[in-house]
Symmetry: C2
Subunit: 452 residues, 2 copies
């Protein structure tokens, strides 16, 4: 639905511009949501037309659209802009959007932008650019609403209205001491709900939930989710207020963290780029190293099989069920590891729950294992017409494999967390390798015992 | 960090209550964030103490805390409350929180709550309870701020301040026609930034982004993410405004949708309960059926192996490399499927990109396949000291397997999407089964060709 909206918009805008009906084009643009215009501009190839559409917008709107553009489109536009135009746009852009944009630009553009900024902005930009990539500092903006605790509600509302156009978020205002230490936070909702003469100090919350500039973005996202925040203050080591993080950026962080987890669970090194925009070499690189590690570690299975080569030569039928045993073990393990990894990511469980997990997975393993083995035994006897002893060896292995896989899947992510490794890399592929080895050893041990 | 905060809170509260220092306990409670108090109450076993703490809070705060409690704690509290207390709390609760709570309660409590509500609220509750579980209607609340387009900014601010305590979100106000059709939306930010005499109609956005009551919550989440919204109106089929959805609920939806995707990709049927709270039987049920399906479908590999039983008997060494081939194929496929499924979930790609995906996966497959085969060939010759022809059969199979796995992994989720099946169930386990069969067939075909 949205894609149609954007492509229809491109068509009609292009037609109007080709027909030199600029006033009509401007009218259409003014009616659109800035996100849709950005999507439309991203889809236009001709740089001259992009710049043209851009110049039709009032400067405030242009800055908003700019913040939503792809880096490629941003670069093309900035390269086409005069210094004067660029200076005006930089004045309108919120600092976090300027920094996000600069992070993707070549050095030449960064230099030009810094040259055109006034010295205070330049200092802020340089400071923000220095925060580590996934830190609270790199997410924050410095355009927050500040109040003094002695103000009345009426004075506060006047201050907020006067400064509103320069603030990225008004949902919370922050109260600081003269040396900029964070003292309290007050929601706009509460200000508006209070009487004119109420003093801010009486309605502010002094137990403020805040993060440090160097805290990880995953921690920030967790706090936003837990406390249903719309904005959160960021403080430095002396607890001085240095910026705020807003929920719209946190939503992106949440999706980014989820993508990273999902990629790691599938043995892919996470990357900032989307699939369609990533180059073949970069995708191959992010996958190859894991495939190699897992391939090498799965050679342990070759050793096990080769050491039973003689037994297998007399009972080749055993070979036929190796893939089924290994797949089922792998799946059983990845089911458990996935649920535990997800629980850890969402903060729903923790290393202290290890005994609960073990006990739960053990029982689930028995239920699933008995069910699968029973089903399989019937199939092997009646359909595959196997010798009952062979079927017994296969099904006993299946039972043990499922239980062990569930236990490994439950425990290993917790162990990873304990030793400070991302639990997500303990997911399916790695556990499969371990479970394969265990499963094969049991298989051959039981087969030798029952059949030879 | 937060857990410590909550358990320290429990301890000090319990001590104060046991020492009958109620005023001190109340002071501590008033200083806390409602989410922390809820977490603390969830951790207290004794129902009498829970109710006691609950009664120490002012009623507005008690309602806020109540909304954050676990259903178990909610039930215990409501069962201990007098009708009068319950009525007061229901008056303070926002309607979406009341409905969320009722959805988890036994029939007796639902009946009691409905009996104590006035007839208008009862109607609203009944209507909200009827929306399908994952619909926009089930997410919304009806306490939104409404304005008329003829109002001035000064009048609007007065109206907002007067009604603020009954509204769940003030970030946007909604403008409707006399027959309640949605005409426009105006951000509080824009109201506050405008002059007193400005008319709402001049600053409202008439191209409103809205959803229908029956739209899926995933669609709602997508729109919030795309347009960086804080609140979104919900309309009925006649485009009448019936409620709003706020970002805090959408953040929960985003995590829920991610969990469902992740579970499906690991062949686990998604469930509303968290891992720790789910019973063993329910976890086993959500996993067993998938394990069974995958086990049965992986029996195709037994057929293939058994049909080559004679060839294998003469060359048992071939068996030793089956697990490595199958694991690598499975991993290569799940890397591709994971990236495509995630791209689809995030709306970054779409079925029209199928050719791009095929071409990209084909090239990535060749790069990874050649790299892995080359590495493996050296290892097989120099470490395992295999016959070069055997090594060649294994490594050629590996190359083909990786390429085919990448292609299947890339294409199948898109096919699933095309035919209206959730792409996530086309993930690792199912693709592994397909790739296994293909890989084994190639293996035996090549081995027969090269070696017999």
């Amino acid at each position: 639905m949205e894609d149609l909206r954007s492509s229809a918009l491109i068509c009609s805008l292009m037609e109007l511009i080709d027909a030199r009906k600029f006033a009509d084009a401007r009218t259409i643009i003014l009616e659109q949501n800035v996100v849709d215009i950005a999507e439309c501009i991203d889809g236009i190839e001709d740089p001259a037309k992009v710049l043209f559409i851009f110049r039709l917008m009032p400067k405030e709107m242009a800055a908003e659209v700019f913040a939503y553009l792809d880096p490629d489109a941003q670069q093309r536009i900035v390269e086409g802009m005069t210094d004067r135009e660029l200076t005006h746009m930089l004045e309108e852009l919120f600092l976090d959007d300027t920094v996000d944009f600069l992070e993707e630009m070549p050095a030449g553009i960064v230099k030009r932008v810094l040259k055109l900024s006034d010295s205070e902005t330049r200092q802020h930009i340089n400071r923000l650019l220095k925060y580590p990539e996934d830190s609270a500092g790199s997410l924050m903006t410095i355009e927050m609403m500040e109040l003094k605790k002695g103000m009345t509600v009426l004075e506060a509302i006047r201050a907020i209205r006067r400064q509103s156009s320069q603030k990225e978020s008004l949902s919370s205002s922050f109260v600081t001491t003269p040396d900029r230490k964070l003292e309290g936070v007050v929601d706009l909702h509460d200000i508006l709900a209070s009487r004119d003469e109420t003093v801010i100090e009486d309605i502010m919350e002094s137990d403020v939930i805040a993060v440090h500039t160097h805290d990880d973005q995953a921690e920030v996202a967790m706090l936003f989710k837990k406390y249903d925040l719309l904005a959160m203050p960021v403080v430095d080591n002396e607890r001085r207020l240095v910026g705020i993080i807003t929920i719209d950026d946190v939503v992106d962080v949440i999706e980014e963290e989820n993508t990273e987890d999902i990629y790691r669970m599938a043995a892919v090194t996470p990357d900032d780029e989307t699939y369609l925009k990533s180059g073949v070499l970069s995708i191959a690189k992010n996958r190859f190293i894991w495939l190699l590690i897992l391939m090498v570690s799965s050679t342990i299975t070759s050793f096990i099989i080769r050491s039973y080569e003689e037994a297998l030569a007399t009972l080749v039928v055993l070979t036929a069920y190796i893939p089924m045993l290994m797949n089922t073990g792998g799946n059983a393990g990845s089911q458990a590891s996935t649920m535990v990894i997800r629980g850890l990511s969402l903060g729903e469980m923790d290393i202290r729950d290890v005994l609960t997990v073990i006990w739960k997975e053990f029982r689930v393993g028995i239920i699933c294992g008995v069910g699968l083995s029973g089903f399989n035994f019937a199939r092997l006897i009646f359909l595959d017409r196997l010798d009952p002893l062979v079927a017994l060896a296969i099904c006993s292995t299946l039972l043990f494999t499922v239980i062990i896989a569930k236990l490994c899947g439950g425990i290993l992510p917790l162990v990873a967390k304990r030793v400070g490794v991302d639990p997500a890399i303990m997911a399916a592929p790695l556990i499969t390798t371990i479970v394969d080895a265990v499963s094969l050893s049991i298989y051959f041990a039981l087969a030798t015992m029952f059949l030879l």
